[in-house]
């Protein structure tokens, strides 16, 4: 029953944010498809030069760096989806508990036999996992579309122009490249869980302007801490340093991790995993418990 309720709760979240979760990835994919097409239509294509270029390219298809090039291209394709998806996630977390209180529908939801724990958990799962899955999925579908076009192009080139790029496609190591990108989904979600939890707390606490409630206390704390550090001549601000250290992704974070430095694919994954530590657990747990407490105890009428 709990699994059914969790599924139903996540489905409900997707219904509520259906417009945003459908149109943003579709529009983004559309931009990726139509901007190159527009470029081709406006500037035209010099077929002769293109064929020469492709023929030159076919000389390198046996290179062992093909898979690396493909991986970098895949990251370039996924990055805008991950970045825009993150903005959507932030919007979702800021509004997911605020909107239902603003329109008073929280009274309806809380009159049904779904526990507050289940509600909070379903919202965390939706925002941290399901929304990224939608954006990763959109990027993957776009990549598949591009690969289908690439297969068609390879067929045309090999049949019509005797240029073979099949080796390039075969050496790209597509599945493992995309697989590595997908593997970062859960570590990113866990790493950013303190942020998501904080946004949920702002969402459930604020009576107005939840985004300001999410931002202003942090800014105020940083400014006050900065002033205190300056006047007391302390070495460095604790809170500011904590935020900088936790959320910055620098190569030095890799030094502790025993990975094969050459394997750039796994480097990002290991870097993300190395960011997750006791702070992730403590801060997330404290903020999620606070969100749950406010949910249970705040009078809504």
């Amino acid at each position: 029953m709990n699994t059914t309720i969790m599924k139903a709760s996540i489905k409900k979240e997707l219904w509520e944010f259906n417009g945003m979760l459908t149109w943003v990835p579709v529009t983004l994919a559309g931009v990726f498809i139509f901007i190159p097409l527009l470029g081709v239509l406006l500037n035209g294509v010099d077929m002769k030069e293109l064929l020469i270029g492709l023929e030159n390219l076919s000389q390198f298809q046996s290179s062992d760096r093909i898979s690396e090039v493909f991986f970098v291209s895949a990251i370039a394709l996924f990055s805008p989806f991950i970045a825009i998806g993150f903005i959507v996630q932030v919007y979702y977390f800021v509004t997911c508990l605020f909107d239902e209180r603003r329109d008073q529908s929280v009274m309806f939801w809380r009159s049904l036999p779904v526990s507050d724990k289940m509600t909070i958990a379903s919202k965390v799962l939706t925002g941290a996992i399901v929304i990224p899955v939608i954006f990763f999925g959109a990027a993957t579908l776009l990549m598949l579309l591009i690969l289908v076009l690439a297969v068609i192009a390879c067929s045309v080139l090999s049949i019509g122009f005797d240029i073979s790029l099949w080796g390039m496609l075969a050496g790209a190591d597509i599945i493992s490249g995309v697989g590595y990108i997908w593997l970062t989904l859960v570590p990113i979600a866990i790493w950013l869980l303190p942020l998501y939890s904080w946004l949920m707390l702002a969402s459930i606490y604020a009576n107005k302007a939840p985004f300001l409630w999410a931002v202003l206390p942090i800014v105020a704390l940083l400014v006050i801490e900065g002033i205190v550090v300056h006047y007391l001549h302390l070495s460095q601000p604790f809170f500011g340093h904590f935020l900088m250290d936790y959320f910055s992704m620098t190569p030095e974070h890799l030094t502790d991790v025993s990975v094969d430095q050459d394997r750039s694919r796994s480097a990002t994954l290991w870097m993300l995993i190395s960011q997750i530590d006791y702070r992730t657990v403590l801060v997330s747990a404290a903020l999620l418990l606070s969100t749950y407490w406010v949910r249970v105890n705040k009078q809504e009428s």
Binding site: I5, S9, W15, S105, M107, F108, S111, L112, P113, S301
Partner: protein
Amino acid sequence: MTSLISVNNVSKSFGRKQVLTSVNFSVNAGQIVGLVGPNGAGKTTCLQAILGLTDFDGDISVLGHHPRKDRVNMLNDVAYIADVAILPKWLKVSQALSYMQDIHKNFNLEKAQEFLAKTNIALTDKVKALSKGMVAQLHLALILAIDAKVLILDEPTLGLDILTRRQFYNHLLEDFYNEDKCIVVTTHQIEEIEHILTDVAFIQQGQIVLAQSTEEIKQRFNIVAVANEQLPQADELNPLFKNSMMGLTTMLFDNQDKETLQSLGKVSVPSLADVFVGVMNKETC
């Protein structure tokens, strides 16, 4: 009779403001109780305490469940309609039915669909496209299909026209109510639901000032049209309320001998609204 809701010595305050003070009442199977009081009397807080939506001091038992400690299990057999506006605007009717079926073990999809088929509501409609009356009907359809044992209604027909209000209560009686269930309802339009109530509880400044069956209330209170020359004698009987209009004074009496009252003027049975006004104005009379 089985007591489905039992409220014992319940108090609640928001900061220094005392909202409920030692509230006691119980609701048995078969009862339809009107919880009536002026704005800010504590009606909604009392209902929210019963539903486990707010904390409280004292003891409440709903179908044997503690509303705060066992809220989810309790809500399998308790339904609640707060205000017509509380269904989210983005929700589609089909989604509401699907969600209810997934999360509520007592939800009967066919029953909800049957009810909706009698209305102008389509499964593809979104709540934001429905009128207030239709939203109330949709909410009622969801609640009726739960077949709950306890139904809590907090101003359920607020803002609806009189036809929709009557339709709402008719459906409630025909499609929901039976002698194994109970309904607790708060409303400002007490005269409209007077005929369906079996009991009333008047609440004032967080305290229950009167809780009785409507039959007992009709026997206990009398309204008398007193002629001007009888006013001094009538005043001696401590009327709860008096109202002078066009040379005639009507007075509400509590627990007075009928024969004595008949000697003062024409005696009639007061409406619950008359009794409510009388009881609420007792101190100012």
